[in-house]
Symmetry: C2
Subunit: 297 residues, 2 copies
């Protein structure tokens, strides 16, 4: 189980390598929401998402002599693991679907990882991964159901507690985008101790509300569909075995949003915070880089 000590230990291992991202606000956002809104700008994290935290936390805890790591991801976990592996001098092999966003494939390679693309429709990803791991002696770094990964994501919670307290906020619902629940669970554990007046609320796309239903029913639920939302990086089929019990104990009721609501939130971040948020993985407005000299084509 991931506890506060594991999270603070992960934070210590990350210091100087993973960013403390800002907690932002804007007066018009507060007015629109009818309440004070603070935004943890984790899209400014190195590699572009919070996944750098979990990747760093997991890889920095590997035994010496680890030959390499393996991860499966459409982009954010891929970059997080590739970044952390490179910094630790560990080889990284990343399995990415062939329709993953080009910028994320390019970034993952730019960190020095070996990217293996596979066809979602025709490839048994888990069998491919198991074969590679055995053949090359690679250690799998799972995207959420792993104590060190959850501890790494939980460092977001340490920062939220400290940064919110600085601006006088100690009581709040903390809305966290939720796929398998690694970020949500880690943040919940951190807040339990550091900001007990705050409560995690998982946020999922409509049609992919396995966590919300699992929290309501008390038993892990599965989604009936695998694709069909712009929030494609968080369309995990069911909650993690480690994350669900944590969230059952600590989180409030799950929140479900439509793609249109997600797009409105992205527009608000764009207009009022100057942030390019993603709805959970894919950039809906373009797949290719706009820049003539850019290697992403």
């Amino acid at each position: 189980m991931t506890d506060l000590a594991a999270i603070t230990a992960a934070a210590a291992r990350m210091a100087g390598h993973v960013r403390v991202t800002p907690l932002l606000s804007a007066p018009l956002l507060d007015r629109m929401a009818g309440r004070r809104v603070l935004i943890k700008a984790e899209c400014l994290q190195v590699t572009g998402s919070f996944k750098a935290r979990g990747g760093w936390a997991a890889i920095s805890a590997l035994p010496k002599g680890t030959r390499g790591v393996l991860a499966m991801s459409s982009g954010n976990h891929a970059q997080g693991v590739a970044f952390a592996a490179a910094a630790h001098g560990v080889a990284a092999v990343i399995l990415m679907p062939s329709d993953a966003p080009a910028v994320k494939v390019a970034n993952t390679r730019a960190y020095g990882a070996e990217v293996i693309l596979y066809d979602r429709a025709t490839t048994d990803r888990d069998a491919l991964a198991a074969g590679l791991a055995a053949e090359r002696g690679l250690v799998l770094v799972p995207p959420f159901d792993h104590p060190d990964v959850i501890a790494g994501q939980g460092t977001v919670g340490l920062e939220i507690a400290a940064q919110a307290a600085e601006v006088g906020v100690t009581s709040a619902d903390v809305l966290v985008c939720c796929g398998g629940g690694g970020l949500s669970a880690g943040v919940a554990v951190a807040l339990e101790d550091r900001a007990p007046g705050m409560r995690v609320r998982t946020v999922e796309p409509a049609g992919f509300d396995d966590m919300a239903r699992s929290l309501t029913l008390g038993v892990a639920q599965r989604n009936t569909q695998a694709t069909g939302s712009i929030c494609d990086a968080i369309l995990t089929p069911s909650p993690g075995k480690m994350t669900l019990p944590v969230l059952q104990r600590l989180a409030g009721p799950g929140i479900v949003v439509t793609d249109t609501q997600a797009q409105r939130a992205m527009a608000a971040a764009f207009t009022h915070l100057r942030l390019v948020a993603e709805p959970g993985g894919r950039w809906p407005w373009r797949r290719r880089c706009l820049i003539p000299a850019c290697p992403i084509r």
Copy 2:
């Protein structure tokens, strides 16, 4: 004259009110540039630009009993002054051209300022300002040619020096967008002491390179046109009387960029840093907020 002591004093007055913005990087940007690139994300500053620093520095230094302040701006200085005035309990009157971006007018009003719109073509802005200042006892906060404003903008330089040193960079060209030169001059003064291996290079839009030409010729030059670039917030007609001597002493040769180059830089920030940068004031892609519930219409 603004010196390091004035800048550190301004930084002390700002602490807790104005953000320390992050110094960002991305591996693909480094690869595209063929060198290491660090980006000071001042677009994440409260009010959306560095102008919050100068506004705060000037207004926090006003004598007690000041009735109100007056500023003229198409948007960024407007918001910076409005924000700082509200926090100090000082009335703010802001003259804005009627074609200023709607989001900036709305934000300025959201900070509690009285916004007076005027027609650029038919109104003598300076006469309007002088009349209002005399009638209401308002103190003018100029956009750049003022020691406290330059000191406030110079706090960006203190942060750049410290944050770059943290990642091992002590020698660099520091490219600064330049209108009247307040930010450039303030940063140059800060770096002279805190990072003597760094040198400010002003960056201006083609056709509005008054500072670059002034630095080359040693005498203040004027632009021949007043409009005609997307970088419309930095189309100042000529260098400041206070800023030019500072930059003559401390800055390298000025850099001039086309609007296309500015757009490419915005695209790179969008794609690789998740930042919505503006080319110097106006958002070229839209003027109205995308959000149905948003008060900006």
